[in-house]
């Protein structure tokens, strides 16, 4: 989230797409209700915030929304595109904001083009783009960059009239997204779309603000990244980024998935979103030159780019201690430089190709997570060994007894390491709003369970011993690693938290800010964005100055509660908050200030800006300190599938792409099977006429709650939701057993027949969507009670083995199936 949970109460309009907060984030949903019940919020004359929910199914969120839009899965780019077009055509954007706070005025290089669904630079052979034309026109002297480098200065046109300006290109790009087109792609009736557009359009006024809330309903698509970008574009145009009540708010997953991501759960990043080094980078200079954002305007602070090296060196010092010296590039070469993509599906793809020896699964179950569980099961049986660290048996630790598997033919050796559940340990949870909140152990470890970090420390120490005894090819990274804990076999969460914060090696004191980190090896920071969380004042994540005393703890009334826990970066509650104030430093909406310039300093939230930088100073930085442009990006050169979001159909789609029938799907979506020389396993509408989407239910947390009796009672078995009309056509009655099957596998579950899924009319064609909750498998209380009934309960048996071009996120949310009644 750019903003935070409590901040949602500040919004006038809450636009929810690809998320079901009432069910997946019920506790956070209270803030939606607060906004709705607050008479000061809302479009027009107020009377309560308006919640607009676009979702293929009518969920518990829709039930509480003011307006519900039934949208076909995977078509939100068209929806947002339509809104963008409406805002641009009717000049409803926030003019001053767009001019000064976005890259609307940047001029794009000649050569950039978009025709027939393809951006310039496409290579059909490699299914990839040469992105060199997706860049800015340059002019004048280059700007100084880090360590003696220079960076090109981009050309701008502050009138926004230049046809090659980002603004004009954007306008042209989205002019195709008329209400008609939007309706024929998304299935949203034109009148309904226009009514939403009117409400949303009003949010470009400085005294109105809208928040966009999304989650995996947008990410689980081959166009996931662009789906989210299209929403962000809308927010930039409306001037809603950086403002209380605004922003792009991703509701994150598990209680600590935000913390996971910050600490590099993704293969392509190091802690703090530093890029993983790539092969061929000979030294830190190479690395920084490739990885750090570059300035394109003299007024851009480019804070991230400027400090990249400080952050990286401090990280290396944390890991390798004294072994990281100036002479060895601070042990830069100890960090792996992966040559191939190692994201989620890639792991199983490699195993399928027989190139993966073993896998350690900790706190997740490969089999159920998917996609294409049957293929994942094959992958697991190709391994030599599999380690599962978990508090419970999972569909992965028991994969060899999945229905259809022949255990006698599987050689994989499976190790189950009983692990403490998070209830059994202390530590921090980072919520979607980036608040790191320290929590205590609730119950002591049960049985033989050990903490994950102790298991890993022990594992490390044993591997190190083996290297010491037997040596090996490249022992240095293992030998050099420092585990500077009282008991290196049993580090405490507190010690790790201090390490993450980092310290000044000269004084031994904890660092207070990442701005003080250095590239000379005198500071450490295990994750620079957390520097400041554990200072000489102690563990700030433990702070609890909250609603006991709102007047004192939240003086602005905007809900920042600076003394409650700690949020990255630097306890800032709203990211990009410089953009909440106008050029002079006055809040766009005086009633909803983020930060404001009082003549000498910035007050309010922790400013995203030098605290005493006078906004009227001609040398003042542009508001978006993290980007090279210094502004929000309406046009981005950093993505693999296009600088401006475009609508592409899901890999399996029931209809043509009306915008460009010849290029229906994302041209660079990653087709794993094809890339590996295996045949693609995609179905066509002829055999699989219905769209399916998968999702969560309030009552369960993925698969783990299959071990919790009370929750099993609330949703006792696997089912699919079927539109009433479709059920009628198929002779399926409510409660009947049905078989749902895709090109890849099948489900055999009960049918819940409902009007909450209705038919949609897509370009004149009737399209049905089937809903599939994900929570079941062949393990757990319900499954074990009736093994026969639960044989085919893994939702991901159906989903396609394909990834988004940028993130390689699977397409869980839109694929084709067929359905029939059993018996």
């Amino acid at each position: 989230m750019t903003n935070h949970w409590r901040d949602i109460k500040n919004a006038d309009v809450i636009l929810i797409n690809g998320a079901n907060p009432a069910e997946a984030h019920p506790v956070g949903f209270r803030w939606f209700m607060r906004a709705k019940l607050d008479p000061a919020r809302g479009p027009g004359s107020g009377g309560g915030a308006k919640i607009i929910h676009a979702d293929p199914r009518f969920s518990r969120t829709s039930a509480n929304a003011d307006q519900y839009l039934r949208i076909r899965p995977g078509t939100d780019v068209a929806y947002f595109g339509g809104l963008i077009n409406y805002v641009l055509q009717n000049k409803l954007f926030h003019d001053a904001y767009v001019k000064n706070y976005t890259n609307a005025s940047w001029i794009v290089k000649q050569g950039y083009d978009f025709t027939d669904g393809l951006f310039s630079g496409y290579n059909a052979q490699t299914r990839s783009y040469d992105v060199s034309t997706w860049n800015y026109e340059t002019e004048g002297d280059p700007l100084p960059g880090p360590a003696g480098t220079t960076q090109a200065k981009a050309k701008r046109d502050m009138t926004l009239q230049d046809p090659r300006s980002v603004f004009q290109l954007l306008k042209k790009h989205y002019s195709r997204y008329t209400a008609d087109v939007v309706s024929s792609i998304t299935g949203i009736p034109i009148l309904e779309f226009e009514s939403v557009a009117r409400t949303v359009g009003e949010m470009g006024k400085p005294d109105k603000v809208m928040t966009i809330v999304y989650a995996v309903g947008l990410t689980h698509h081959t166009t996931g990244v662009q789906l989210i970008r299209s929403a962000a574009l809308l927010q930039l145009l409306l001037g809603n980024m950086g403002r209380p009540g605004g922003g792009m708010n991703a509701e994150r997953g598990h209680a600590n998935i935000q913390g996971n991501t910050d600490h590099a759960i993704s293969w392509e990043i190091l802690p703090g979103y530093l890029k993983i080094p790539a092969p061929g980078q000979k030294d830190l200079d190479d690395y920084v030159a490739v990885s750090a954002p570059k300035k394109s305007d003299p007024h851009s602070w480019n804070f991230f780019g400027t400090n990249y090296r400080n952050f990286m060196v401090s990280l290396l010092k944390t890991w390798y201690g004294d072994k990281a010296t100036k002479d060895n590039e601070f042990a830069f070469h100890y960090v792996p430089k992966p040559a191939t993509n190692s994201s989620w599906i890639s792991i199983y793809d490699q195993a399928l190709r027989g190139k993966m020896e073993g896998v350690i699964l900790s706190g997740m179950t490969a089999t159920s997570i998917g996609p294409d569980s049957n293929q994942v099961l094959q992958a697991l049986s190709n391994l030599k060994w599999l380690v599962v660290m978990d508090a419970f048996p999972t569909t992965s630790s028991e994969f060899w007894r999945a229905p259809g598997m022949d255990a006698s033919k599987i050689q994989t050796e499976v190790f189950m390491l009983p692990c403490t559940h998070w209830i059994e340990k202390d530590g921090s949870f980072v919520n979607s709003g980036r608040w790191s909140q320290w929590k205590e152990q609730v119950i002591p470890p049960q049985g033989d369970a050990r903490h994950d970090h102790w298991i890993l420390a022990d594992l490390y120490s044993r591997v190190k011993k083996l290297y010491q005894q037997q040596s090996g090819k490249f022992p240095d990274p293992i030998m050099a690693l420092t585990l500077d804990y009282k008991d290196p076999l049993k580090p405490t969460a507190d010690e790790i938290a201090q390490e993450i914060n980092g310290k000044d090696l000269a004084t031994g004191k904890q660092m207070t800010s990442f701005a003080l980190l250095k590239a000379d090896g005198t500071t450490t920071a295990g994750d620079w964005i957390y520097t400041g969380s554990y200072t000489p004042d102690g563990n700030l994540m433990k702070r609890r100055n909250g609603i006991q005393d709102p007047a004192k703890n939240d003086p602005t009334g905007m809900g920042f509660y600076a003394g409650w826990a700690w949020s990255w970066p630097l306890n800032r509650r709203v990211l990009y908050n410089r953009a909440s104030a106008d050029l002079d430093g006055k809040p766009w909406d005086p009633k909803r200030p983020g930060i404001q310039w009082n003549g000498t300093t910035w007050t309010g939230d922790v400013p995203d800006y030098p605290p005493t930088m006078n906004p009227k100073d001609p040398a003042a930085w542009l508001p978006f300190i993290m980007t090279g442009e210094g502004t929000g990006r309406l046009f981005s050169k950093d993505l693999l599938d296009g600088p401006i979001p475009e609508h592409y159909e899901p890999i399996e789609s029931p209809v043509d792409n009306v915008l460009h029938p010849k290029q229906a799907t994302d041209p660079v979506a990653f087709l794993y099977d094809q890339a590996a020389g295996r045949p693609n396993r995609f179905g066509t509408v002829a055999d699989y006429p219905y769209v399916a989407t998968t999702y969560r239910l309030t009552e369960h947390e993925h698969y783990v709650t299959q071990n919790v009796p009370l929750l099993v009672g609330l949703q006792p078995q696997a089912f699919v939701e079927l539109p009433e009309e479709l059920a009628g056509e198929k002779g399926i009655k409510n409660g009947d057993r049905v078989r749902v099957f895709s090109k890849r596998g099948k489900l055999e579950v009960s049918a819940l027949v409902t009007k909450r899924f209705g038919p949609m009319t897509i370009a004149g064609k009737k399209v049905y969507t089937i809903g599939i909750p994900i929570h079941w498998g062949f393990i757990g209380i319900a499954a074990e009670r009736d093994p026969d009934l639960s044989k085919y309960w893994v939702a991901n048996a159906l989903t396609p083995f394909v990834g988004d071009a940028n993130s390689r996120t699977p397409e869980f949310k839109a694929f084709l199936v067929n359905v029939e009644r059993i018996g």
Partner: protein, 273 residues
């Protein structure tokens, strides 16, 4: 929390902001150590709990009223009217049918004006089950007694609010002193009415149902939709006492007469013969 005053307390359950998360159901079970019934898939929307009973002292109802294929705007497909969710519970009636009939005085009114079943007194006759017009009370084979929401009497006595209200994420369940809740409810209703929700209504706020309900509701549809008797149907069991006995007495007299006729007339005729 400071100790509660011995004043009437209750629940204002605002169903218009209920998200059907069932946290209230689970919190109640956790606090009161209820196991729940054996899992059973009902295919009734998202409700697999089914009813209030000895194991379920809160029950979230799901009522689907999705209009058919909606092509234009203006259909009330959202706004809390198309998929109704309502967390049902014992109403802690001012005139409580259960309390009225209980022959053992196991059911009492507490210092907080709530209706409470004393487990050590109840003998499991189940008369209260037949009396409760809301189908609240359930019999537990293991304890041999009946159970229902206690309004978390043990928590109230310790200055804590009921577990269900505490857990409710949207504050759909509001716990408090009854007069405060009445005021909050009136305000909320006025807002909804201003927004054009004509069906919005308070249930149990006034005295028309059982002299007022300490656990009262804001509904987005008529009470019957939620299994709640409307004002006309909200009648106490004791209404049938007088007519019932009277009918019995009249019959007894007639029976007497019938008997006397049979035996008396026979005696005469028998003797004369």
């Amino acid at each position: 929390m400071a100790a509660l005053q011995e004043r009437p307390v209750g629940f204002f359950t605002d169903t218009s902001i209920c998200i059907g998360c069932k946290a209230c159901e689970v919190a109640c079970k956790e606090w009161n150590q209820l196991e729940g019934n054996a899992p059973h898939f009902t295919a009734d929307s998202f409700d697999n709990t089914g009813q209030l009973d000895a194991q379920n002292w809160r029950h979230v109802q799901f009522i689907e009223k999705i209009p058919d294929n909606k092509g234009t705007i203006g259909t009330p497909i959202a706004g809390g009217q198309a998929w109704l969710m309502m967390s049902d519970v014992c109403k802690h009636c001012q005139q409580a049918s259960c309390l009225e009939v209980c022959p053992t005085n196991a059911i009492v009114r507490t210092e907080f004006d709530t209706v409470f079943i004393q487990q050590d007194v109840c003998n499991g006759c189940r008369d209260c089950i037949a009396a409760c017009p809301y189908g609240v009370i359930g019999f537990n084979e293991k304890t041999g007694t009946v159970h229902k929401c206690t309004m978390c009497y043990d928590r109230l006595q310790n200055g804590l609010q009921p577990a269900c209200a505490k857990a409710c994420p949207t504050e759909s369940i509001k716990f408090g002193y009854l007069d405060d809740l009445h005021a909050a409810a009136d305000t909320r209703l006025a807002t909804l009415q201003k927004q054009g929700f004509a069906q919005a209504q308070l249930y149990g706020r006034d005295t028309s149902a059982y002299g007022g309900l300490n656990a009262f509701f804001l509904l987005m549809d008529k009470p019957e939709t939620f299994g709640l008797p409307n004002a006309a149907n909200a009648t106490l069991p004791s209404r049938n006492n007088v007519p019932g006995y009277l009918g019995g007495a009249v019959t007894a007299v007639l029976g007497l007469l019938a008997g006397v006729l049979a035996f008396r007339s026979s005696r005469m005729s028998g003797e004369q013969r």
